[in-house]
Amino acid sequence: MNPLLIVQDLSMRFGGVMALQDVGFSVQKQSVTALIGPNGAGKTTVFNCITGFYQATAGTLRLFAPATGTAGVDLREMLGEPFRVSDFWQPGVLGRRLFFKLFGGPHRVNRAGVARTFQNIRLFNELTVLENLLVAQHARVAAGLLAGVLQTAHFRRQEQAAVARASDWLRFFDLLGDANRLAGELPYGHQRRLEIARALCTEPCLLCLDEPAAGLNPNETRQLSRLILQLRDQYGLTVLLIEHDMGLVMDISDHLVVLDHGVVIAQGKPEAIQQDPKVLAAYLGTALP
């Protein structure tokens, strides 16, 4: 067992509504893990907690990215947690909390190695396809303001490298022909692929896809599942995805987590899940006694 992400006792409360209750699962390195469940089960809430868009009410999220060593990093801490009384006699803890309060946020989670796409596509519509990918690489173009204004050789090399990297991913997703078109005018299927390519440009170790096959035709879905498997096998990526297309989920996932009403009702291999009576009940309903 070699987990990349461990989720423990994750709870999320919106006012009086308990959206997630003690959710726990782990994502193995170089695997495809799928999060499934009926509508409103809390799948996207789990995603938002993992990627830093929601501050979870309770629980731990630990990411074991290659760069962070064996201890892993706490994803919740990066969002800026509220101060506690005990912090005031622990200056180290207080300092860390203050730092993340001021400079923390979802962007830190991304820099730690978690990239995501969205259920409703969020591209930079007025920018070209290639610019979309360049924006995602902003952190890697390590050239200062002055270097850019003066167009130093170093800056130009960095830009060329960024364009080359972006082009590589465009080729992988078969979007090279659209490189200089506006992202907003692409066909829907291309936009879906572009969003994944953009997330990959941030060099993540965990890729979170929120319903990547929504709105795609069967042909495009097949192509997508091939690409996801290629990402896992060739590039060693770990993929966590939410999907309603059961054909796709059963084909490509190594591990399934089933959520219903904010609670994990089952997890395991796809074959086992298909037989699980609780899952069948959640999806199909139970017979009246």
Binding site: L123, G148, A164, L170, A179, N180, E185, C205
Partner: protein
């Protein structure tokens, strides 16, 4: 051709119907006098004027449609037009350098003011056009720049050359101070807060009489060139420029000097801003305008991005302010009302959000035209309003739409030799 002929007939007929009661029937005393020739002449003029106009319009439209289709497909750079850009820039520069010798003192003053508005437009363009943060209080930074020079001279005898960077930096600081509390605001709410900020600065300048002189204003001296003054007789034993160069004194020298200095600063700023748009920071501003949530998911810290946009925009505005103080020789709070903010915003909107060329053209248009039409000064605001409405109808994205940069795909990738494979860093 046939179509425009028929439309022209209809237009002529409608004109005839309209002109008969308007010009054909003239009230004299208690009776009506019939002037039947008048409406006929007018309708004939409308008919004859309309026909060639429509014909040309249709031809132009069919031409531009075919060209805009290629632009739509995203390949913004059209081959065969590459020489136009450098040629245009060279011509504009030549004209800018010759202008002081072509125009009189008054004309030069107007153009100098127009250059200041170009600076302000460029500054606001960063905030509104690129980063998409609607700022209705931009005049505050203009005021900060102007008062830095005026008060700096008044209290510390600060020279223009020191006030120029200092005023810009101070304005940038104010930009960030404004930016911090409005980080979470968007659209209308942001506009209201920035509007309030602009008014706060103006009211402070107006009411803190002991520091700023209140409505009486503060005077600011004319800049010197390496310690040489532009006056007939230098103060306190200095050397005036005309004596140093051994030429006759002329009051035009100082105007030409300030103008050329502004041309230099404006050109530098244009260059920097054009570069910024193609740099990671410029792309990030635009990305933030397009989708803030997606930006955060890509590891972009929206706080620094927004603050940098506010700061840099204010910096350029502050530069404009220092020049304004030097040009006028005197500043008081009435120069920094909300109307001024609206004027700068109109420049950005008319020019086309994010387009540098558009902002320059719009700033010249909106500053020089009202001066030329002094006789119609009462209708100035009305004209701007009508121009805005016409723009919304015909060119909702501004005089000049921004062209996206086109990137060359590396040939190795295009031919499929290199791949993303072989990346072993994960």
């Amino acid at each position: 051709m046939g179509h425009s002929w028929r439309t022209a007939c209809w237009v002529g007929l409608v004109a005839l119907l309209l002109f008969v009661p308007i010009t054909g029937l003239v009230l004299s005393g208690y009776g009506l006098q019939l002037h039947w020739q008048r409406p006929l002449w007018l309708a004939g003029a409308v008919f004859l004027g309309y026909w060639p106009f429509v014909w040309l319009w249709n031809r132009w439209r069919s031409g531009s449609q075919s060209s805009s289709r290629t632009a739509q497909s995203g390949h913004a750079a059209r081959p065969g037009r590459a020489w136009q850009r450098p040629l245009g820039i060279a011509l504009a520069l030549l004209l800018a350098l010759l202008l002081p010798f072509l125009l009189g003192k008054y004309g030069l003053g107007v153009v100098t003011l127009a250059l200041i508005y170009i600076l302000l437009g460029l500054g606001l363009n960063i905030v509104v056009g690129l980063a998409g943060l609607l700022d209705l209080g931009f005049v505050a930074f203009y005021a900060v720049g102007a008062y830095t020079y005026a008060l700096g001279y008044h209290y510390f005898h600060m020279s223009f050359w020191l006030a120029l960077p200092l005023g810009a930096l101070l304005a940038a600081c104010f930009g960030m101070v404004l930016g911090f509390p409005v980080l979470r605001l968007h659209g209308d709410y942001l506009a209201i807060v920035t509007l309030g900020f602009g008014e706060i600065i103006r009211l402070i300048l107006n009411n803190w009489v002991s520091l700023t002189g209140g409505p009486n204003g503060v005077s600011a001296p004319f800049p010197t060139l390496f310690g040489l003054e532009f006056s007939r007789r230098a103060k306190q034993g200095g050397v005036p420029l005309h004596e140093f160069l051994g030429i006759d004194y002329s009051a035009d020298h100082r105007a030409i000097f300030l103008y050329l200095l502004l041309v230099l600063v404006v050109c530098t700023m244009i260059y920097i801003l054009v570069r910024l748009k193609r740099m990671p920071i410029g792309r990030t501003w635009e990305a933030l305008r397009e989708n803030e949530i997606a930006c955060r998911s890509l590891g972009i810290n929206h706080v620094t991005v927004k603050l940098s946009a506010f700061g840099l925009g204010a910096l350029v505005g502050g530069l404009g302010g220092v020049f304004f103080a030097a040009l006028q020789g005197f500043v008081n709070p009435t120069s920094f009302t909300f109307f001024e903010s609206a004027h700068i915003l109109a420049i950005v909107v008319l020019g086309g959000m994010g387009s540098t060329t558009g902002v320059i053209v719009a700033a010249l248009f909106l500053t020089v035209l009202p001066e030329m039409l002094r006789d119609f000064a009462d209708y100035r605001v009305l004209t701007v309003g009508i121009a805005m409405v016409l723009m919304m109808l015909w060119r909702p994205r501004g005089l000049r739409q921004r062209r996206r940069p086109v990137f060359q795909i590396p040939t190795a990738v295009a031919s499929g030799q290199a791949g993303v494979g072989g990346r072993d860093d994960r």
